[in-house]
Symmetry: D2
Subunit: 174 residues, 4 copies
Amino acid sequence: MQTGTLAPELEVSRWFNAPAPLTLAALRGRVVLVEAFQMLCPGCVSHGLPQAQRVRQVFHREDVAVIGLHTVFEHHAAMTPVALEAFLHEYRIDFPVGVDTPSAESPIPRTMAAYGMRGTPTLLLVDRAGRLRQHHFGQVEDLVLGAQIAMLAAEPAPIEAMTGAACNVDGGCD
Amino acid sequence: MQTGTLAPELEVSRWFNAPAPLTLAALRGRVVLVEAFQMLCPGCVSHGLPQAQRVRQVFHREDVAVIGLHTVFEHHAAMTPVALEAFLHEYRIDFPVGVDTPSAESPIPRTMAAYGMRGTPTLLLVDRAGRLRQHHFGQVEDLVLGAQIAMLAAEPAPIEAMTGAACNVDGGCD
Amino acid sequence: MQTGTLAPELEVSRWFNAPAPLTLAALRGRVVLVEAFQMLCPGCVSHGLPQAQRVRQVFHREDVAVIGLHTVFEHHAAMTPVALEAFLHEYRIDFPVGVDTPSAESPIPRTMAAYGMRGTPTLLLVDRAGRLRQHHFGQVEDLVLGAQIAMLAAEPAPIEAMTGAACNVDGGCD
Amino acid sequence: MQTGTLAPELEVSRWFNAPAPLTLAALRGRVVLVEAFQMLCPGCVSHGLPQAQRVRQVFHREDVAVIGLHTVFEHHAAMTPVALEAFLHEYRIDFPVGVDTPSAESPIPRTMAAYGMRGTPTLLLVDRAGRLRQHHFGQVEDLVLGAQIAMLAAEPAPIEAMTGAACNVDGGCD
């Protein structure tokens, strides 16, 4: 999907390291970094996940939320939720991680398909207004990522996010 | 168990990357490096397994055999044989890897218990005569490991190994 | 000296990799990264200078100028201009590097003293209006540095810099 | 020069980190690692010299002597003895380092020419009997180097070295 348009909502079947389910809608007002990974993807383990952890330590949490998304598109029998839980424990990953909801028709899980991700690691940046602004497949340098996050964090939050009263006509409130 | 004495035989429930089951007895005459690991152990992934792969490339295979041993003592539901198979594929590990046989009474698998291993990664060196000569828990430097392997490889093979006719009184031959 | 105030002009006795002498005044309108280093400082060689080179590759040169400053405060007989020239050649450093003018009274060269630098590596960021905005001694993470540079680059240039006609009442023009 | 033959004596104009001049002859009985480097050679700084320091820490000094040799063949005005002294101090190199004697006729210093070295870093291994056994130009892996040193250290020392009374028929003693 195109950057600049509203980021599709995450479709998550289970959350780890989160007291309650997370949605992009509820995170409106903050920049959101979504690190899409597979626990058996070497580039995710050596590069993507450590980078996401560094982002979490460097930026204030009221400005930038870091979320992992386990987008399993191969070796489904190996990368189960129970395996993921052990992985998160052993690798000391303490930010919220959602399991991308498997699809009935395809090996590609739902959120991965909605964003048209090409593989893992994929890093998404969603702005304070909920729009997808960056979509990186593979490695992105820390210098570049730091600059992109800072630019998004410097943008004003949308009014409804600042007031904390974003409600829809059908009655749902964030 | 003590170094210098005969290395207990590996108890393996399943092999990967091996056309047939391997035994230390059948490898008599060669130095054997056993890399005991768990697929979700960060130190194994970042240090132990890459080091075992370097050993395999540097030393001649007729001198030194490199074997992995999946010694799962925690997160058993996560580190199943099917998960291990995906892991070996994704991390491009092509030397033989055996699954240490689970124990009915303990979370510690059988070979791990027989050697008294303290955790993972553990690196064992078995000499040409089948005796355990080094038992490293944690990281060992390449300079030290290279020296230890070379010293063992320089020792003469036992006569039966050289002739390839190591038979026991009860009729079994290697 | 304090961040937020006008950055003191560089006092340079000799330039390398520059067709003509550079001044902060002439760079007004751009963000300027000054990497203060000594060629025999291990942290400069392993961290500071490679980081400055990465900044040069990531950011547009019309936005961000990268300058090295050889601030020799020890081993003066070893780190001469002729030694520096060989160093820049061997380490493939191709951004402009100025030699901080030695002081007659102190081992600390003049620009280093004017900025109150504590040692090397020191990284300075000067904004488009010529004000010192960041002063890092030691290592700074790429994520942090990328964010700081991006924020400064996003600030509007001062009017005189944009018009390219910054002249003073006493007749001097940048 | 060929490996297996007697290693030419070092021609050194000045020593650092050594109470008295060193000679290969006086080191007979020990394995000698000679790390030939230039202080402004990036591969020497990042790989060769740290490796030599690791060797010094891993092997016993009565078995293996580690010596640096500053073989300046370019940028002679930059890599002077006074510059080398500052370099050794800043990089915390504490093993003995000799300055290869400059040649009157060539930019290649004398020991470098005698051994036919192709550049820096070059690592030489001399056995207990004083014969050149390995000559590596560029990088050599720790696993390989550890094995080569161990094999040489395992060879018996020549009788004269063991007795410490190596004298020649013409009256010279080591």
